[in-house]
């Protein structure tokens, strides 16, 4: 088990490594899906894409029932291949922010101020048809409790194939083929078998992989992972995080990772937002936030991790003492 600071260093190293990568892969993103091969299903984004694919500017969200503001201004920008993490306890407004980005705020909630731009388009101007075209193909998401986000009475493979058929215009048979490839790409051991199964026949970790496969089926640029690893046990959680990192690297996905667990965010993200009661209390690069937390709440989060993490018990066996790790 590594400490948070080590994780952030890993993330930084990963970023540095990725920075040079796009030049070696000349293919442009999302063009002619049919030409993609099985070995390398996804293509990387060129470095030139410096413009943000997702820009959230001072977003406020209010509840229409109580007439109360829940989120008081969130801003961040996301460029291809980058990852933004949002940390906070439940009720801090992180999920609402994500939902606003996806245009799926629950009933009675609305964006009361600020703007959200996806690939240069202000979402306030989108018609329902444009939203439909945008979702899946440009922005997509995976959630906690993956079983409930898949239709229980349709085979999971068919649900992935459906996305491919609709969003990419592939024929039934090709779509099936591609869906199996995707299932393989998310490292499911027996993709053919999984294709024909129902949600209740699969474990939580497998379902999250299926959900990720469905989310990236139409080659989106942005993937939002809202507590995507929360309900999974620790080893599976680590595997899913690795998978997300790999997808980001291969496909140039821009990730938004939402979690209540600082460790999850630290492992993946370039930039971190710490939210509390609808307020962004801390924002900065991952190493900055972890090493030099300015806000008391962030310090508390980090301290709790050090206090209750496994490191404390492993400490006597390692050269590091608890004092050194903090």
């Amino acid at each position: 088990m590594t400490t948070l600071s080590e994780l952030s260093d890993n993330a930084a190293a990963g970023t540095a490594q990725r920075a040079g990568e796009p030049d070696t892969e000349p293919d442009s993103p999302g063009t002619e899906p049919g030409t993609e091969t099985a070995d390398e299903p996804r293509t990387a984004v060129p470095a030139a894409a410096a413009a943000p694919v997702l820009a959230v500017r001072g977003v406020h969200i209010s509840d229409q029932v109580t007439d109360r503001e829940i989120v008081h201004g969130v801003s961040f920008e996301l460029t291809p291949g980058k990852t933004v993490g949002i940390v906070g306890e439940s009720g801090s407004g992180k999920t609402l922010t994500c939902r606003a980005t996806l245009g799926i705020l629950p009933p009675h909630f609305e964006v009361s101020a600020g703007s959200i731009e996806i690939a240069g388009t202000d979402i306030a101007t989108l018609t329902p048809q444009q939203w439909t075209a945008l979702r899946g193909a440009t922005i997509s998401a995976v959630f906690q409790d993956p079983a409930s986000y898949l239709n229980p009475s349709i085979r999971v493979g068919a649900q992935i194939a459906e996305v491919i058929r609709v969003k990419k215009g592939l024929k039934r048979r090709e779509a099936r083929h591609r869906a199996v490839e995707l299932l393989q790409a998310v490292q499911l051991r027996d993709p053919e078998l999984v294709y024909g199964q129902y949600t209740h026949e699969l474990s939580g970790g497998m379902l999250q992989r299926v959900l990720i496969a469905a989310a990236i089926a139409a080659d989106p640029q942005i993937l939002i992972a809202d507590e995507a690893t929360t309900a999974l046990d620790v080893t599976v959680q680590a595997e899913i995080l690795d998978l997300l990192a790999e997808l980001r690297q291969q496909a140039g996905l821009a990730l938004v990772v939402v979690s209540h667990d600082l460790a999850v965010v630290a492992q993946l993200c370039d930039e971190v937002l710490v939210m509390r009661e609808g307020e962004v209390v801390e924002q900065g690069t991952t190493s900055e936030v972890l090493h030099h937390p300015r806000h008391e709440y962030t310090r508390l989060l980090i301290a709790e991790h050090d206090q209750y993490g496994l490191e404390k018990f492993l400490a006597p066996l390692t050269p590091l003492t608890p004092q050194e790790t903090s």
Binding site: T132, S140, F143, Y149, V180, G196, Y198, L211
Partner: protein
């Protein structure tokens, strides 16, 4: 199917497909077995209760044939002729095996074969009931779907209001209103009677339209309400959000995901509604002067003709059981997950 297999060897692929076919067949058989397991006790209990009616009522063919002033000896003689002096369970067993062979016994009042008598009325009743079901399903599904799609708008409220209105109208009230308006008032339809389909489709349809409409109101109301409810509930499910996020159009989400999961309860309602439909035929056939199965039940019951009443009840139970079997099979086909308790 097998031509696209590149990673998986064809043999293995075929294995997966074969398993799936066997899976489907197996599921069908399991559904069938489970339905039969439920309906066999139902049938046994129902026939037993039905048969026990005679002992409980204390009615006897002797009273009907001999009148009130018969001597006890004469009554005993007639009852022995009908085999009513034997132990109750022996009588039940005899009658039950007869029922399994399609023999419902003979009428106390005129000695006619009850199976034949019921067969005569069944055509009328089934024509009306089937037509009522068709009206109920088509109208109920249309209204329920429309209300769910336009939920919380005035269309939804109008449909809900209409459905509420027709749900509080008992079949006999609807029947009377229909007769008053369409038969007596506007002379559009005949007010009573029946013409078999062989003597002309038009007249047949004209004669069963009003009774079928009267019967269908209840079905329309229940199906529409149930469908609206379950569709609205399905719309709130996470998998709908999931499909939205994957960029599927509202139309596709509705047809492919919501309807598929929401249709089950409405179909189940149809299965539950069918007994009421058969039951209400007593009233509609009385209003519209149809010599059907419900009328036969009513007349036999009022005349104290116990075997005839038992026969009608058994046939009605068989009809209900058969209909529910079909509904269960359709349900298993539409929502495979429901069969496994998910």
């Amino acid at each position: 199917m097998t031509t696209t297999a590149e990673q998986a060897p064809p043999a293995r692929r075929r294995g997966v497909v074969g398993t799936r076919v066997r899976h489907t067949l197996g599921r069908l058989l399991v559904t069938l077995a489970r339905s039969v397991a439920i309906f066999v006790p139902v049938f046994l209990v129902a026939t037993f209760v039905t048969f026990a009616l005679r002992s409980m009522s204390g009615l006897s063919p002797a009273r009907i044939q001999l009148g009130e002033e018969a001597t006890p000896e004469a009554i005993a003689r007639v009852e022995a002729q009908w085999g009513l002096d034997r132990p109750f369970l022996v009588q039940y067993w005899d009658w039950f095996t007869g029922v399994l062979h399609g023999q419902l016994g003979t009428s106390w009042t005129n000695g006619a074969d009850i199976s034949t008598l019921i067969g005569l009325g069944l055509g009328v009743s089934l024509s009306v009931a089937t037509f009522a079901l068709i009206i109920g399903v088509v109208l109920g599904f249309t209204l329920g779907t429309l209300a769910a799609l336009k939920r919380t708008t005035w269309i939804d409220r109008a449909i809900t209001g209409f459905v509420t209105l027709i749900s509080v109208m008992p079949a006999f009230v609807v029947g009377i209103v229909l007769v008053a308006v369409f038969a007596v008032g506007l002379h559009l339809f005949p007010s009573a009677g029946y013409i078999p389909a062989e003597q002309g489709f038009g007249p047949w349809l004209a004669h069963i339209t009003l009774p079928a409409l009267a019967l269908s109101f209840d079905v329309v109301a229940d199906v529409a309400r149930q469908l609206r409810g379950s569709l609205v509930a399905a719309f709130r499910e996470n998998y709908v959000t999931g499909a939205v996020v994957r960029g599927l159009s509202p139309r596709r989400i509705f047809l492919g995901h919501v309807l598929r999961n929401g249709i089950g309860p409405a179909l189940a309602t149809l299965g539950l509604k069918f007994p009421a439909l058969v039951g209400a035929s007593v009233v509609t056939e009385w209003i519209f002067g149809l010599q059907g199965f419900g009328r036969f039940a009513n007349d036999s019951a009022q005349a104290g003709d116990v075997p005839a009443v038992q026969g009608v009840l058994v046939v009605s139970i068989v009809l209900v059981v058969l209909f529910n079997l079909i509904v269960n099979l359709v349900l298993a086909r539409v929502t495979p997950a429901s069969q496994r308790g998910v």
